[in-house]
């Protein structure tokens, strides 16, 4: 019996999420005496997972499966679960994996819990914590079925180094490829060279306090210095100052970076719901009464137009040390 994780590929490489899933599965497997198997598609550097406790990688090399399809990928993961006798399968929360999750749950006939943020509490009763009410609550959720599928929230567990010796096996499951005809891909647009908001370790976000779209240069520069992605509040996206894809909050994107920097964002409850899973939050705002100061870890009371350029200079000096 093994625990199976889905190792998502990002441009042919093991995604960071896969290493977090491996770390999580290894921690639970050590309690239950199970080893950890990963299944992935076209992983060029699958051996990196050994460093996080994965004993075996089932790597699919079929060219026809290189492109994501929720139904085909669910078939692959299901076949892997059957091959290694896994009752517990763990997936990440990228857009693709969120899409695949319920399809896979039904194929596995598994009880499925999403937004998971903790290891199961003990090995007899399978109870995990999950985020509910847009991060305003936590639900201790028992999975009542023999087969279990968990979707781990990004950055909820973190990466743990746990080197083991592992093997990579070529895996060729039987998959119904006709789904690729039913879901014909017409076009794919992907921002290149930019750090994706959902993957970024640091996010620099700004709000109406910036006064107008022409003032975003300093936000982009701050992001560049930090290797961060840029984001914005809902009013800014609604005003058309920034593209909608940058809107983070309850009805926009949910992000959970290591550092979230909020410049000129007051911190309405709907905004906080989308960002408060961040490991650390820094707020820069000239209004000391802004609600964000109650939610953040670090704060600077001051005019963004004065503080941000100074912070950029200081950070450049720091990076050059």
């Amino acid at each position: 019996m093994s625990i199976l994780i889905y190792a998502e590929s990002q441009n042919g490489k093991v995604a960071k999420s896969a290493k977090e899933l491996a770390s999580y599965a290894k921690a639970y497997g050590d309690k239950t005496g199970q080893d950890v198997v990963a299944v992935g598609i076209g992983l060029a550097n699958a051996e990196e997972l050994f460093n996080h406790g994965v004993n075996k990688v089932l790597n699919v090399e079929n060219e026809a499966l290189k492109v994501f399809n929720a139904f085909a990928y669910a078939d692959v993961v299901k076949a892997a679960a059957e091959q290694v006798g896994a009752d517990l399968v763990i997936i990440n929360d990228s857009n693709d994996a969120v899409y695949m999750g319920p399809v896979l749950a039904e194929k596995l006939d598994a009880g499925y819990v999403s937004q998971v943020i903790s290891l199961p509490e003990d090995t007899d009763d399978f109870v995990v914590k999950r985020k509910v009410f847009s991060n305003k609550g936590i639900a201790y959720t028992a999975v009542l079925t023999g087969k279990k599928l968990l979707r781990l929230s990004k950055n909820a567990f973190g990466l743990v180094e746990n080197p083991v010796s592992g093997v990579i096996e070529s895996f060729a499951p039987e998959v119904d490829l006709s789904v690729y005809d039913a879901y014909k891909i017409v076009s794919v647009e992907k921002a290149t060279g930019k750090i994706s908001l959902t993957d970024a370790d640091i996010v620099v976000s700004a709000g109406r306090g910036m006064k107008g779209p022409e003032n975003w240069g300093m936000i982009e520069e701050l992001a560049e210095v930090l290797g961060a992605a840029t984001a914005c509040s809902k009013p800014v996206a609604d005003l058309g100052w920034r593209p909608h894809q940058e809107h983070v909050g309850q009805t926009g994107k949910q992000v959970a970076p290591n550092l979230y920097i909020a410049v000129g964002i007051s911190g309405a409850i709907q905004h906080l719901a989308g960002v408060n899973s961040s490991k650390n939050m820094l707020v820069i705002n000239n209004d000391p009464e802004a609600p964000f100061f109650k939610a953040a870890d670090y704060g600077v009371v001051g005019d963004a137009f004065e503080v941000v350029p100074k912070l950029i200079e200081k950070l450049k000096a720091f990076k050059n040390q």
Binding site: P102, I185, I202, T251, L282, Y298, V307
Partner: protein, 250 residues
């Protein structure tokens, strides 16, 4: 075009969330319920499609009579009729079984529109489970939908860092979100709509027997944040030191 709109009713997004009965139940006192914000984009899309191509928009909800006010709001916005499956849903699987059963008995819908997740339990799975149970095609995180010829639609879904456009033959289930229609296109009920909604049919049907696969044992609130460390705007070196040595994020 016959459209089924799957509606979830959730606490208003400004609600303070509390738990009661020894932290085993969500405290509904003082809570205003609204149409799930992710669903609103799909509802407006449904109305636009009906206006362009004709047909019918049916709203389906799994819940108790407590949801009827929100269902009436959907009717006031323009849905033709409503069906409520009378149940206090145990989990997402239970809800999905109810909807799949309804679709099994009413299999003439061209498009089934849900939100990508509801803002109460955030499971993000009911519509996907329904698709898998019913053998229907399914696209999640949909940010655009255009009707083509020959019963085909062009569907844009959000992918990490961009979007993917698919061509699919109906019928189809989608999980909609912001982008499916523009924010400023979102519809709200007007007085005429509210008056008309009173006369529109709201059919209540019994739930079928179904197991739950998960169970919430208790709730808690997230641990309160430690107090903020304020740094003087003229001492940003201290901020960099904290981010580097304490938070270890730069």
């Amino acid at each position: 075009m016959k459209i089924l709109f799957l509606m979830s009713s959730v606490p208003d997004t400004t609600s303070k969330i509390n738990f009661t009965e020894n932290n085993t139940k969500f405290d509904e006192s003082g809570i205003q319920y609204v149409i799930n914000p992710h669903d609103e984009f799909g509802l407006t899309k449904a109305m636009q499609l009906k206006e362009k191509f004709g047909g019918e928009v049916v709203v389906l909800h799994v819940g108790t009579a407590k949801s009827d006010a929100v269902i009436r709001k959907v009717l006031a916005i323009g849905a033709d009729r409503a069906v409520r499956i009378d149940a206090d849903p145990q989990d997402s699987y239970y809800t999905a079984v109810q909807i799949a059963d309804y679709l099994n008995k009413h299999n003439d819908f061209d498009l089934i529109i849900a939100g990508k997740e509801s803002l109460d339990y955030n499971g993000g799975m009911v519509h996907g489970l329904v698709a898998a149970m019913s053998g229907l095609k399914f696209v999640n995180a949909v940010i655009g939908l255009d009707v083509l010829e020959d019963g085909k639609v062009s569907v844009a879904r959000e992918i990490d860092g961009g979007k993917e456009v698919l061509e699919i033959t109906l019928p189809l289930i989608i999980g909609g979100q912001k982008g499916l229609v523009k924010e400023e296109e979102l519809r709200i009920p007007n007085m005429r709509g509210i008056m008309m909604a009173r006369k529109k049919p709201l059919e209540v049907i019994p739930a079928i027997e179904a197991p739950a696969k998960t169970k919430i044992e208790k709730f808690e609130k997230p641990a309160p944040k430690g107090s903020i460390k304020l740094v003087d705007k003229d001492n940003l070196d201290e901020l960099i030191d904290l981010l580097h040595n304490e938070a270890k994020v730069i």
